[in-house]
């Protein structure tokens, strides 16, 4: 215990990661390995390392009728693997990871699947954690008994989720906003029930290949060690695989009469839940910064946003209300939402709509723009002040194919945003006559 602590302290005193707001750590682009891009940020203060593998294998690749396949393919990777020459059971894997003091997390979003390792940087511990992750990525077994068990667990969770207002709202909203794009379909009892072990093996073979992977590393390793990690992680994984059909285009939410784009879901919860939104932009869109700054004013700026002010501060209608853009490598969405007791749902929806409509029409005021920039610029150090946050940044830069100096120029790009840019960006991408609206709750006249 003591030795551990002294080791940390010694390191803390000897190094500094960021000595001033100006000196932002550089991202090193490492050599591609088997078609996989790789990035490193060295931070020496703590004897630990975070490693992420992003795989271009998100929910949007779910085949029709098998929603949930991408998710299960990733999240069952640690439930049995072929490790070098022997099989490792789910129990052995879990015990080993625990014995290393490491963690390996698996998650799936719309665009990508993510595997994250957190380990102490000591070579023997780190190497074994990487080896286990490599076996998961290269050779998961998808044992039919485990697949059956996990399908049943997922179905049970889905049935539970269907009793929850926020889940029902979100599923319906996705269906509307994604339209003909694959993300419109959420996993259901039927679609998960239809998934077979063969589907998992097939999906894994098709998508888990190095030409669809990106590795990001943050922590106490140098370039040579990082390269070692990347090789160890990916060496067993094939570089390419079977043909993958291109995704359909995510089409812009069309102009429609209100009746066509607004849905009421009767639900006997105490609160009505409301969602509103439409297609928006990709992260690499040149208007990203005007939209970021503008949305801070509209609904992103916590207690000081217009939505918060109108809905909560002035009228006490809701505990939480916000709006956000979710840009990805490809086009993402804009979404706003709140919850309020049922008999206030009409007025709350009206206030939210009016606030968004006015913002699209008029943009922010000069003082709002100044306040938004002040927050974003002054607060930038808080976005990069530990290894975990640095990894989030590197990973986003790598996945979205942004310039390597993104962190260095971020505040300059915020500062450069003008009133006109915000106004025209909101007018260009958002429109009230395109907004999908879902209101879930008891009927309210």
């Amino acid at each position: 215990m003591k030795a551990f602590n002294q080791m940390i302290l010694g390191c803390l005193l000897a190094f500094g990661v960021i000595t001033s707001a100006q000196a932002i750590l550089t991202i090193e682009k490492l050599e591609n390995y088997k078609g996989a891009k790789a990035y490193l940020v060295q931070t020496k203060a703590l004897p630990m390392v975070d490693i992420e593998v992003s795989i271009d294998a998100g929910d949007r690749y779910d085949p029709v009728g098998k929603s949930g396949l991408a998710d299960m393919t990733a999240t069952l990777m640690n439930y049995g693997v072929q490790d070098d020459k022997r099989m490792l059971s789910e129990a052995q894997i879990a015990d080993e990871i625990a014995d290393l003091g490491a963690s390996i997390g698996l998650s799936v979003g719309g665009e990508r699947a993510i595997l994250r390792i957190r380990s102490l940087s000591r070579k023997d511990l780190r190497d074994r954690a990487v080896q286990l992750a490599s076996a998961m990525l290269a050779a998961p077994t998808y044992d039919p008994n485990i697949v059956r068990r996990e399908k049943q667990r997922t179905i049970t969770s889905l049935l539970e989720a269907e009793t929850k207002p926020e889940y029902v709202l979100d599923r319906r909203f996705k269906k509307m906003v994604y339209g003909t794009y694959p993300l419109a379909d959420s996993p259901s009892v039927k679609s998960v029930g239809a998934i077979t072990p063969t589907d998992l093996v097939q999906f894994h073979k098709q998508f888990y290949r190095t030409d669809r992977m990106i590795v990001s590393i943050v922590g106490d390793v140098d370039q040579a060690e990082a390269n070692e990690i990347i090789h160890a992680l990916l060496k067993r994984i094939p570089q390419s695989g079977p043909f993958i059909a291109p995704l359909p285009e995510f089409q812009r939410s069309p102009v429609e009469p209100l009746a066509q784009r607004e849905v009421q879901i009767p639900f006997d919860s105490q609160q009505a839940h409301i969602a509103m939104g439409m297609t928006a932009v990709a992260r690499n869109n040149p208007d990203y910064f005007p939209l970021l700054v503008g949305n801070y004013v509209l609904g992103g700026g916590g207690f000081v946003s217009r939505l918060m002010n109108e809905v909560r501060e002035k009228r006490g209608l809701a505990y939480s209300v916000s709006s956000y853009f979710a840009p990805g490598k490809d086009t993402g969405i804009f979404q706003a939402g709140l919850q309020t007791k049922n008999d206030q749902s009409s007025v709350a929806l009206q206030v939210m709509s009016d606030t968004i409509a006015k913002f699209i029409a008029d943009g922010p005021t000069t003082s709002e723009l100044v306040a938004a920039k002040a927050n974003l610029v002054n607060g930038y150090p808080l976005r990069i002040d530990n290894n975990r946050k640095l990894l989030d940044n590197v990973s986003s830069i790598a996945w979205n194919d942004l310039p390597l100096d993104t962190m260095e120029v971020w505040t300059k790009q915020v500062e450069a945003v003008t009133l006109d840019q915000v106004k025209s960006a909101f007018e260009k991408y958002l429109a009230m006559d395109r907004m999908k609206i879902v209101v879930l709750g008891a009927q309210n006249k």
């Binding site: 215990m1 919860s269 306040a371």
Partner: protein
């Protein structure tokens, strides 16, 4: 020990305010928190939820800073801020770039003694709090279950009150109730300021002296011990609420770590028992109940040895499809009986201890997390200096000691069981256009 703490300093101002500073120079940011030792356990019946309501009102203006202005000023500094209320305490925090620290200290010190909100602000905000209760409790069956569990397990301890308060108490709360609460508890001698990050402890002390130093101390209301009488047998409560799966929570009265008794092995053994049962994917309950017997869909174990009030050791499970609460209870009891009879393996305990050691490194990655740990430990009556001692103590616990606490405390005399009986939602109408 002292050598381990070269990065952390503790001071006390003449008005009783305690200040703890941890220097961590990895990045140019800082976390500033003020912790008041006043939580829902300090409330009285009829005024439950008051600690949390006051937390909301703290953003509603002082003599100098008008309603809503606090958040605008922090936002302009690039800060992130919020507050949280618990059974034991209420805490406020800001995270800022280091050059902005003095400004948030100034703002926080101002609202320690100059809070001054209008009745109209209170009337709006109490509506917001009721919406928060609807969101987090009324429409959330797991929260409803937990609320009933606490109110059943405890007869006299104020831990029986929900932190957010009963709805009827919120409906009948007055602005003056909040003002009285503020005048009673928001005093420097009831507060601890915790600052972590890229700072110099001496400079921080000077700033804290400057802004908090002139606030006068005041005698605090008498806190009655309100010790919960010993439980004499199983208690049960059922909650009917919209859900699909039944849920079961089994909660046993167990000891916590007492101030001044840091060498008591039992609380440490209970912490380790928690991890043996639920600390990793292949821990006992997940392995046996979820993976082998498939009797529950999810299971979790909770215990926190550090708190002001009495502690429960909780096992909470959601039923697997087609399985009953009775079946789950049998399986949980069987797993516990096996542990009580045969003990645990050395390798199981070693695994947990390795994780505790590595967590020591990982937690250093977050200055916010470090401030949280220091603050919550202090609020429970311990010193931040005890944290490392507790962790060292944890490493000395034997498998026999873990087995012994299971045998001694996971028994029916002190057990409360709460069952969520799932109900279909009443909604009948079909989805439609408005």
């Amino acid at each position: 020990m002292a050598k381990d703490h070269e990065d952390t300093r503790e001071y006390q101002l003449s008005n009783g305010l305690k200040l703890i500073v941890r220097e961590d120079h990895r990045a140019p940011t800082v976390a500033h928190m003020v912790w008041y030792r006043a939580g829902s356990m300090d409330e009285v019946n009829g005024r439950t939820g008051l600690a949390h309501v006051l937390e909301h009102m703290m953003f509603k203006g002082t003599d100098k800073v008008k309603a809503g202005e606090f958040s605008r000023l922090v936002a302009a500094l690039g800060g992130r801020e919020n507050a949280f209320t618990n059974r034991d305490y209420t805490a406020y925090f800001q995270q800022v770039e280091k050059s902005k620290l003095d400004e948030v200290i100034k703002l926080e010190a101002d609202r320690m003694s100059n809070l001054n909100f209008d009745d109209s602000e209170f009337l709006k905000e109490i509506q917001v709090v009721m919406e928060e209760r609807r969101l987090r409790t009324e429409d959330n069956p797991s929260s409803l279950l937990n609320e009933s569990l606490m109110a059943t397990a405890y007869m006299s301890s104020p831990y029986r009150y929900p932190v957010v308060g009963w709805m009827n108490d919120l409906q009948n709360m007055k602005a003056n109730d909040a003002r009285d609460w503020y005048r009673s508890w928001y005093k420097p001698n009831n507060a601890t300021v915790v600052i972590t990050g890229d700072v110099d402890a001496k400079q921080v002390l000077a700033a804290v002296e400057k802004y908090y130093g002139s606030i006068p101390a005041q005698e605090l209301p008498v806190r009655k011990p309100q010790i919960e009488p010993p439980q004499k047998g199983i208690k049960q409560v059922q909650v009917k609420a919209p859900a699909d799966s039944a849920q079961l929570t089994m909660a046993w009265k167990v000891p916590r770590l007492e101030v001044g008794k840091l060498d008591d092995p039992e609380p440490y053994a209970l912490e380790l028992l928690t991890s043996v049962l639920d600390g990793y994917d292949n821990a006992r309950l997940n392995r046996v109940l979820v993976k082998q017997e498939k009797v529950v869909n999810d299971v979790g174990v909770g215990y926190d040895m550090i708190s002001r009030g009495p502690e429960l050791f909780e096992i909470a499970a959601t039923m697997a499809k087609g399985k009953t609460v009775a079946q789950a209870q049998v399986s949980i009891r069987k797993a516990l009986d096996e542990l009580k009879q045969k003990g645990i393996l050395d390798s199981e305990l070693k695994r947990i201890k390795v994780r505790i050691l590595s967590e020591q490194i990982y937690k250093r990655d977050s200055i916010f997390g470090q401030a949280m740990e220091i603050g919550s430990t202090e609020m429970a009556g311990f010193s931040w200096r005890d944290i490392d001692y507790m962790l060292e103590k944890m490493q000395t616990i034997t498998p026999e000691q873990v087995q012994a606490v299971a045998q001694k405390y996971l028994v029916d005399e002190g057990l409360t069981m709460a069952v969520l009986d799932p109900q279909a939602r009443q909604s009948v109408a079909k989805e439609g256009k408005r």
